[in-house]
């Protein structure tokens, strides 16, 4: 194809997106669109998969059967989210095995929040309330993104997320209405998860490299700073309701903007974690790699079994 032909195809393509038409996998698309989507959708999928690890840590130690059933169901949902997203990503012409390789080799990124440890039961409350809360804010606008398979996966994901956040908030509420020790535990969890949750919504707009192109393609509909403000404004009253203190001395309601002003985020910490130096980066990837490697004989056996059954079917047919 000549450069001119490509240019006119690109114009038609951008116009389709501007008209709110969806792009489907077999449609012509600019190489950059394909690459950007592979990167974003796979990062999202990896985050769901690695995100199971900090919570999986508490399933066997949940304080009651009710909590255990809920946590198990939530973690299972996250596995499902990862699978919806991997399959959406594969429609762009990359195989599942390549995607796993990128995660396991450290080439691909996942949300930095999952590199923090879950030290107490209250962390299950804080994670559901704050981390899933921030995830919802990130994900809802993506239900209208331009790439059809991603948008459809996000609709399914968003339907399932609200139970995640509610079960987390319920854990916090129970602890806050309990003994002094329990309430302290909830406060401690909020102290540790608050700032990482704000960072989870991404670097400030000034630092964010992909925003403009992503806005055009509807991979992003609001800027990171807007999403962060939305998260803070909706979460502060919830913390008040719990009787917990947000660990930010500069946080205060601004009558003029109708929003909360907040303190400075430690972006050095964020970049340290993104670059692999967070408290649990190594632990997370090695747990993931071990799960994959240790499952290898099961995958082989299943394929051998499938081949045998197929051979038997053919024999009977003859």
């Amino acid at each position: 194809m000549s450069n001119e032909q490509i240019k006119s195809l690109e114009e038609i393509f951008e116009a389709r997106i501007a008209r709110d038409e969806k792009i489907e996998p077999k449609d012509w698309m600019p190489e950059k669109y394909r690459k950007t989507h592979i990167r974003q959708i796979s990062q999202h999928a990896h985050s769901e998969i690695v995100g199971m690890l900090p919570e999986g840590n508490w399933i066997s130690r949940a304080p009651s059967l009710r909590r255990k059933a809920a946590l198990l169901a939530k973690v299972q949902d996250e596995a499902g989210h990862g699978l919806y997203l991997y399959s959406a990503c594969e429609t762009l012409g990359i195989s599942r095995i390549e995607l796993y390789d990128q995660l396991h080799s450290g080439k691909a990124k996942y949300s930095s929040i999952f590199n923090y440890p879950t030290l107490t039961w209250a962390d299950m409350g804080a994670v559901g309330w704050l981390v899933d809360g921030a995830a919802i804010i990130n994900q809802v606008p993506l239900c209208n993104t331009s790439f059809g398979p991603y948008a459809r996966a996000m609709v399914r994901v968003c339907k399932e997320e609200s139970f995640h956040q509610r079960q987390g908030f319920e854990i916090m509420l129970k602890l806050c209405n309990g003994s002094k020790q329990q309430k302290d535990m909830a406060q401690d969890a909020l102290n540790r998860w608050w700032w990482p949750s704000l960072m989870m919504l991404g670097p400030t707009d000034a630092e964010s490299v992909h925003t403009e192109q992503s806005m055009k393609w509807k991979l992003k509909r609001k800027s990171n700073d807007d999403l962060r403000q939305q998260f803070i404004d909706q979460t502060v009253p919830q913390a008040d309701l719990l009787g917990l203190t947000i660990p930010d001395p500069d946080l205060k309601f601004n009558e003029q903007t109708g929003s909360y002003d907040f303190g400075t985020i430690d972006w050095d910490e964020f970049w340290q974690v993104v670059k692999g130096h967070g408290p649990c980066n190594k632990q997370r990837i090695s747990a993931r790699v071990a799960a994959w490697d240790n499952g290898s004989w099961v995958r082989d056996a299943a394929m051998a079994h499938a081949a045998k059954k197929e051979a038997l079917k053919i024999k009977i047919a003859i």
Binding site: K26, W28, Q76, G80, A88, D300, A302, M303, H305, A306
Partner: protein, 94 residues
């Protein structure tokens, strides 16, 4: 031997009276496992009463680049629509 599990497309009927609809895809070693995995991945909240799985490699899809040849011939066949035919206003129930 290539030991990567093949890809399957999943179709779910959400309730009787409705058609099966494409829900997504998944990897599984064989058709029985594909069906079981589809149950776990796509119907955790009563989303369906029936599931079909089809190996993705068995699907032949049309190419959007050929949409012109495929679909445009239908556009100029206005006589396939009821509004093409003139009937006097006095005629009722038609």
């Amino acid at each position: 031997m290539d030991n990567n599990w093949p890809l399957w497309e999943v179709f779910v009927r959400s309730k009787n009276g409705l058609e099966h609809r494409h829900f997504g895809s998944l990897h599984a070693a064989d058709e029985d496992m594909a069906l079981e995995n589809a149950r776990d991945v796509y119907t955790r909240r009563n989303e369906g009463v029936s599931i079909w799985v089809v190996k993705s490699s068995n699907i032949k899809a049309s190419n959007p680049a050929h949409n012109g040849e495929l679909f445009e011939p239908a556009q100029d066949k206005v006589y396939r629509h009821p509004t093409f035919y003139n009937v006097p206003d006095e005629v009722k129930h038609m």
